[in-house]
Symmetry: D2
Subunit: 398 residues, 4 copies
Amino acid sequence: MINLFTTEQLKSIYPKVKDFIEKRLYPIELELLFGDWSNSEQKLNDLRAESKSLGLWAPYLPEEEGGLGLSMTEFGQLSELMGTTPLGHYVFNCQAPDIGNIELMHQFASEELKTKFLKPLIDGQIRSCFAMTEPEYAGSNPVNMGTTAVLEGDEFVINGHKWFTTAADGASFCIVMAVTDTEADPYQRGSMILVPTNTTGFSIERNIPIMGDEGAGYLSHSQVRFENCRVPKAHLIGEMGSGFSLAQHRLGPGRIHHCMRWIGICERAFDMMCKRAASRELREGRKLGHQQTIQNWIAESRAEIDASRLMVLHTANKMDKEGAKAARIQISTIKFYVADVLMKVLDRAIQVHGALGITDDTLLSFWYRHERGARIYDGPDEVHKASLAKQILKEYGL
Amino acid sequence: MINLFTTEQLKSIYPKVKDFIEKRLYPIELELLFGDWSNSEQKLNDLRAESKSLGLWAPYLPEEEGGLGLSMTEFGQLSELMGTTPLGHYVFNCQAPDIGNIELMHQFASEELKTKFLKPLIDGQIRSCFAMTEPEYAGSNPVNMGTTAVLEGDEFVINGHKWFTTAADGASFCIVMAVTDTEADPYQRGSMILVPTNTTGFSIERNIPIMGDEGAGYLSHSQVRFENCRVPKAHLIGEMGSGFSLAQHRLGPGRIHHCMRWIGICERAFDMMCKRAASRELREGRKLGHQQTIQNWIAESRAEIDASRLMVLHTANKMDKEGAKAARIQISTIKFYVADVLMKVLDRAIQVHGALGITDDTLLSFWYRHERGARIYDGPDEVHKASLAKQILKEYGL
Amino acid sequence: MINLFTTEQLKSIYPKVKDFIEKRLYPIELELLFGDWSNSEQKLNDLRAESKSLGLWAPYLPEEEGGLGLSMTEFGQLSELMGTTPLGHYVFNCQAPDIGNIELMHQFASEELKTKFLKPLIDGQIRSCFAMTEPEYAGSNPVNMGTTAVLEGDEFVINGHKWFTTAADGASFCIVMAVTDTEADPYQRGSMILVPTNTTGFSIERNIPIMGDEGAGYLSHSQVRFENCRVPKAHLIGEMGSGFSLAQHRLGPGRIHHCMRWIGICERAFDMMCKRAASRELREGRKLGHQQTIQNWIAESRAEIDASRLMVLHTANKMDKEGAKAARIQISTIKFYVADVLMKVLDRAIQVHGALGITDDTLLSFWYRHERGARIYDGPDEVHKASLAKQILKEYGL
Amino acid sequence: MINLFTTEQLKSIYPKVKDFIEKRLYPIELELLFGDWSNSEQKLNDLRAESKSLGLWAPYLPEEEGGLGLSMTEFGQLSELMGTTPLGHYVFNCQAPDIGNIELMHQFASEELKTKFLKPLIDGQIRSCFAMTEPEYAGSNPVNMGTTAVLEGDEFVINGHKWFTTAADGASFCIVMAVTDTEADPYQRGSMILVPTNTTGFSIERNIPIMGDEGAGYLSHSQVRFENCRVPKAHLIGEMGSGFSLAQHRLGPGRIHHCMRWIGICERAFDMMCKRAASRELREGRKLGHQQTIQNWIAESRAEIDASRLMVLHTANKMDKEGAKAARIQISTIKFYVADVLMKVLDRAIQVHGALGITDDTLLSFWYRHERGARIYDGPDEVHKASLAKQILKEYGL
């Protein structure tokens, strides 16, 4: 929370969220993360009930839907707090991919779908997932896709193969992106369709082992298959052919959500790095933190994290005032800038911890492994850089 | 000028400054810079008269002293504009080292000194210089110093050897830092004394050739000698032994002034890089800007410059609201962060220009050479990093 | 194998090792690595028998001990080959920590220990481990140690706590570094003692979960405890108090062995990166490898790997001709230089693979996780850099 | 000189060249460099006479032509020595662009041209230059060119505009690349023609001010114009249309010559950095070299320079044994790798020197300015990286 972006409401809620996270989550975070998922889930449900009773539930949602009606700028500062522990967002029902599905359905789903699927999702009774990326196609080119949804009477018949469907394991429904019109303009080919996961023809092939973790439940990323999977036509979200446009709607905020969370990770890793530097003895009277190299890392990390936060909140501010579209260029910028800072800070924190840094006795290794994807998912660095540069060069006549 | 930090006054003055710089200075900047100094000085004086008549003079000064009473945050955004051309600050009487001397004397000089020296300096009738660094002592340790000022009756007798006394050539007076009490605590040894440059015993040994330029007049950095140089005791600025503390007063704002200026350089170099990328043809139909490497550089530069500006203005804002001392840690942060960004952006801009980039046909080579010092002067990167880290680690008990 | 460092013997054996690795190991490497260790061990034993029957066993050993009598320079080139797959060294009985223990015992163990422990180790009938690092002490300062071995009559009584005891799980004996004389000069305090792992008082507390893998058998790193663990005095290796000096003997070659292996990893990752770049389609007619950013990574990786190999083989050459001590400075150099190249190449290879790169479907994630330690174990980068610089500055009188 | 690449002949000549450079050149290098060219030239001529009398002249030339018949590998090690001082190569008649013109004419010029122009060039009686790059065309695409040479009877009539014609000021002849057949295949359009600089129609427009230096004589880079400049057809070098192919012949060795020289610069800068680190006091008992950051820079520089030397000599070795064409890929590699190391080492050496580092009181600033071009001339980094990667990816079927 920095003065420049504080509001009265934030001043009131920020310390509550901070307190809850530090007192209730920090002590059990490693256990929740590396323990058996079913046990963790039970504990998380209790914590969710508690956060709800404290009035901290889904703060990004309008008040009439059970949230706190915070702006993106306000929420960004809470999201940073939640990001300091791996299951922080989950406890406040702010976790991806559900938050993205909630925002999407809130704007574009029919009343029927809202009642049946969105409401229990907002209430935290069910989980959901989102299936877009396919192993056979470069994710950086979103118009390339093999999954199809063919209308037969009142039903879509969906066939295809997706992966990196986060949290599919245990989800109640999946929003899938599929080609509904192979003849249309590439950007009008796809549509988004809601598929209950108990539909015949939907199956989870495997939880993909990622950086050493296969994971389970919410903490997993699945490879899923749709084989003649039939859902009612009414499960279409938005218009036919609007899938690509909806994906844009979904990804913009999704990217800034990631950035906010990454700053939380950075701050936590920074804190761990400083604690270690101030306490680990090299020899009598000489601590790690007396070494100039360590001081350099601390100073560079401080500068880069501060820069990241200002850029992210400035972008959030722009989104609040001018809409997500106006901030498109800034969103691309923070996506690659903050992901890079994140990996650098984690790397330095690990090095400061020495052998301990590569064990699973701290969170650093978990983030080092699982956030390597930050430079890849939702558009690799290279795509965002090229896209930003092209926008800029357009003004120069190129 | 970004929305977050705009004020009504800034909205009014910003376009005027921008216009003046782009229309009056850009067309003659290379000529002013590489031409004979006496010609350049004449032209600059005309431009100064003009900027004064337009009400754009010394905007950082209070209105009662002929300025516009702008806050640091407001001035920072004008300073960026001025920084886009090497003599921009000079034309508005915002140039170092005079701006630092003005701020210093404004706060700490006697009325007599103010009348005799400060007033004509503010009016732009004379120039001044500041002598602190000595070749024989590491500048990063400010308590090490060989120059002495011994009180004999009503006079200081000054002896010593300074270098990097910017703009001494043609200056009317020099503020020198000298040891006045060799027995005192290191931080109370030095004092600041004003020495008119026509005093016997003051001499310029040479204009130091720096990165290929010996320079002349304002555009030079001298090596100066004080040999039994006598000035009245009344030329003391502040208290006896307060030199180090005054230097701190002077350097804090000095550092943020540099950062603001560097952002201006970055933006200009960025603009040149984009223009070149959009126009230089590699082969039929293929421009430099179509190359992904160039796009990466443009995107990374955009991100880093944006981050720099937000950090600098956020620091200025903190100085405005809480005072320079409260922002000390942020000032150290931006000093090394922005200096690094500056050198990276200049380096990329040169590479995009190819052979042209290393000629003096553009400003890039001038900045590449003369701003290499940015990572050294007013505290090298290493000192600021260590100082920032130590501040942080102090909170962790180290 | 590069012309500059080829020998006739190497020309004959190199293709055999290459062939064996590519044909017999590549097809099952993921299965061996991620499968159940007891199954993997069985398969590895069969492969070991095969490599022995082909005359490729332990090529670094003198012929009279069942090896091929290769020089360090020759072996380095085979070691690179073996490094291209995670269990490559194991199959030729060249794996750490056994290779280090073999070299150590070969030079310094009594005939009795050789007969009883070294011989079956060389034959591949048993495995061993090496216990030095302790969680409570900074590993970068090897004279800090809490483990003690007190002589009581004819026995050492060992008490202490070690971690990162690689491959302890399933090992037949452990060489432990313990303080035998607390009063001695720091560098003469420690001794190395062989402890059969079935000795009462020796226990494995846990296989440390490292970057998501707890591992098992050879593929693990244990935390071990010595509690009143008694072994005969005759289990001392070398002299009393020679532990630190033996560690130096052990670590020099150990470090170059790592470097050789890392180059193998680099080459394999490079090959995977190129294959992916040449095959992955972004859109019709446009492959990843057509992107200039990818080309930059390939070119930079090629340059850095080539530089690494030349430096490592040049160092090996110096060790062969002038002894390990003469090459101490070069060993420090390659330790940090090659570790850095390794991490950069792996990071680029992952980025080129996109989402696939962070899964365990390729080896990249395994190396990315398990070789992060390369910049830490056997002396972190910072220690080697400081040590190299101090050596150099000594010649300048510092 | 490293053992791996030493020969008996080199062992004999190396110390002589080293001695000559250190004793005769180091003491006057700054004076030669920054003084008036006509004075410098006189002194250089005396030194040339001396080096010739010592049998150190043009060592790369065959003995029958007055050289020492050294291999590229041997010469590379002398060239490094010469590179440690800016006019080192000049004193031994090994300086660009003459060395390139000598090699070119040696292979491809007619006997007549050899007698009239090559012989005095080899003898050091005259200087020459080489005109290829044009301001209006991207140098990285060598088939783009505006200069034409039209055959009229027995004469070429040359028209065009070149820049970065190194050392044209004072040269006796110029080898110019011009289009002789606009209809031919792009790679067969150009030819190389020798133009005496006193030919009517040849003029030097200006010595281009580069990084603050306009220079003079050998120490300059000119912009030249050909206006109806007529030379005999017999001044053609090689075949009509062979210009591009000759340029390739010329550039390969040219690039490795640069790399060798850069390593010399690196070693000298490294030596200066270490001397400064070992002598400059921060405070009582604390030298710069005690700072860990400085130690890091020294260690990293040592590693990178060692890597550079091994790569360059390994490439030279390959050229000696298999020809320049076989080493093409290695030449591209060292061109960008060593240029990058050069700039990093210079930058660190400057930072270690603090304010002194940016003055012209040491050589560092000269190299920092004039070697920035290293990443641009003879193909910018980006072109060499792309070219290397494409070669590699070709083997992967791309």
